[in-house]
């Protein structure tokens, strides 16, 4: 028994020490699932000696984390919510970094014929007309907000759909898993789709409408509200993210030969 106690306390006391600069950045699931963060973070560590700890959440939660001061900066993609965040004084400014695009995924057989649609809105109208199963993120994320915006542009109210419309309230990967299991249509960002490992019978059916472009922006949390925010490190990271080095890393990042992100910081 005494040996047991000694062993337990030894394990408990063996805590890892942390050193160097550390900041917390809330990012969206789509950014992380794309794998781009695995390329950028080691370079940031190397160039700035800065360890960026990523909190991978939906845009809704990312903004909430910034509002509460639990992170130092956020990297999200939902213009309206970002503008509101700034208007309420929770962030100092908004810096556009890069964009990728949303794509329509669905069963290979394409029962709603959306691959022949001429716009994103038309594709959604076809899905609604066919009452084909459709998985919605339903988690207040940037992707979910985009989807809801498209439904209202199509003069349809997602709140009134019946059985074929399934709001799963989950992240991109989990929602894709659900769609794969039900052979349903879903809107995904291209990066998450390309990196997704459980595609099943799903295929990319429609893409390319400019309304599907997905702008990522970097928003530092306001240090006037939260004095513990590491503004210097946040500024360092921002200048790195808009540098030429970041540009080439982002523009050349490819999965299966496809470019995912386009750098457009000014």
């Amino acid at each position: 028994m005494k040996r047991l106690m000694a062993m337990m306390s030894a394990i408990v006391l063996a805590t890892a020490a942390q050193a160097g600069d550390v900041m917390k950045l809330a990012v969206t699931t789509s950014f992380h699932n794309s794998g781009l963060s695995d390329v950028l973070l080691p370079e940031i560590q190397k160039d700035l000696g800065l360890e960026v700890q990523l909190l991978v959440v939906g845009t809704g939660q990312a903004l909430k984390l910034g509002q509460a001061g639990d992170v130092d900066a956020i990297l999200v993609h939902s213009r309206k919510a970002e503008d509101k965040f700034l208007a309420e004084g929770f962030g100092t400014h908004r810096r556009e970094i890069m964009y990728n695009d949303f794509v329509f995924i669905g069963p290979d057989s394409d029962p709603a014929q959306i691959s022949e649609a001429d716009s994103a809105v038309a594709a959604l109208q076809k899905i609604e007309a066919a009452k084909a199963p459709f998985v919605s993120r339903g988690d207040d994320s940037g992707t979910h907000k985009k989807e809801l915006g498209l439904w209202s542009a199509a003069d349809l109210d997602a709140g009134e759909f019946d059985g074929w419309y399934r709001a799963v309230g989950a992240g991109m990967g989990a929602a894709l898993n659900t769609a794969s299991g039900m052979n349903a249509y879903i809107i995904s960002d291209r990066a998450s789709w390309l990196n997704f490992g459980n595609k099943g019978d799903l295929a990319l059916l429609y893409a390319g409408d400019p309304v599907l472009f997905n702008q990522y922006a970097y928003l530092p949390v306001n240090p006037d509200l939260h004095s513990h925010v590491k503004s210097d490190l946040v500024a360092d990271l921002e200048s790195w993210l808009v540098s030429d080095k970041a540009k080439s890393l982002i523009d050349t990042y490819k999965i299966n030969g496809e470019t995912l992100f386009t750098f457009n910081a000014k």
Binding site: M1, S9, D70, G173, N198
Partner: protein, 234 residues
């Protein structure tokens, strides 16, 4: 079915190649859960002994409450701890959110009722046997509690192991308060949730088998170190 085999072979491969990432998150899982277990036992075991030897008016209600709280939903515990530790919450100045300490706090809250309830069951039975003897020896309340705890140590080990089991496999609360940050708060269960989200079922399952093996190993080690099933009754 192929996913299952992939998972098993992935698990074996990761263990054999001593994958650095795997080692790190496994050690963190152990560290968080064992710390939580030690803290929770330090609270729950004396509490259980106190409830056995002391008669007071609300005793039955406290016991019933502890029993009910064994089913405390982790995700709710996580949310409450999150709100308390958030920078905009009452304990925000401590800056503990998204650290292993926050995960320990959540796990302690989850397993204290479980350990206390199970420990109380065995301590109560032992107290029924010891009652007359200890009363006749006119010992103090504190001596009663320590005697009970020491003589029931094997049964208490079972209570602690039940707590360990619940904590090591827990994902809901530590995902919320830890944030699943790579190299900082990622543990086995949250890594499994992440890989499932990415659709990499083989890796997720591989991590799952490692987690199960870890739980078995820790249980065996504790039984061996505590020499259960070898000496006399206690």
């Amino acid at each position: 079915m192929t996913d299952l085999w992939d998972g098993i072979s992935r698990a074996i491969w990761m263990v054999l190649s001593l994958d650095a990432n795997l080692l790190e998150i496994t050690l963190r899982s152990l560290q968080v859960t064992l710390t939580a277990l030690v803290v929770a036992s330090a609270i729950a075991l004396p509490l259980a002994a106190f409830l056995s030897v002391r008669r007071f008016r609300l005793r039955r209600s406290v016991i019933a409450l502890l029993n009910a709280l064994m089913g405390l939903p982790p995700v709710v515990v996580g949310l409450v701890v999150y709100i308390l530790l958030s920078r905009s919450g009452p304990l925000g100045v401590l800056g503990l959110l998204f650290t292993p300490t926050a995960m320990v706090i959540a796990q302690v809250i989850i397993i204290v009722p479980l350990i206390a309830s199970i420990a109380h069951q065995s301590l109560r039975d032992l107290w029924a046997e010891y009652h007359d003897l200890l009363i006749s020896m006119n010992v103090s309340q504190w001596q009663k509690i320590t005697t009970l705890l020491w003589d029931a140590r094997r049964a208490l080990l079972t209570a602690a192991l039940a707590g360990f089991g619940r904590a090591i496999g827990e994902v809901g609360a530590i995902m919320i308060v830890g944030g699943n940050i790579d190299n900082a708060t990622r543990v086995l269960t949250t890594a499994i949730a992440l890989e499932t989200g990415k659709g990499d079922f083989a890796l997720a399952l591989g991590l799952g088998f490692v987690l199960i093996a870890l739980a078995v190993l820790v249980n065996l080690a504790i039984h061996w170190l505590g020499r259960t099933e070898r000496e006399g009754r206690w």
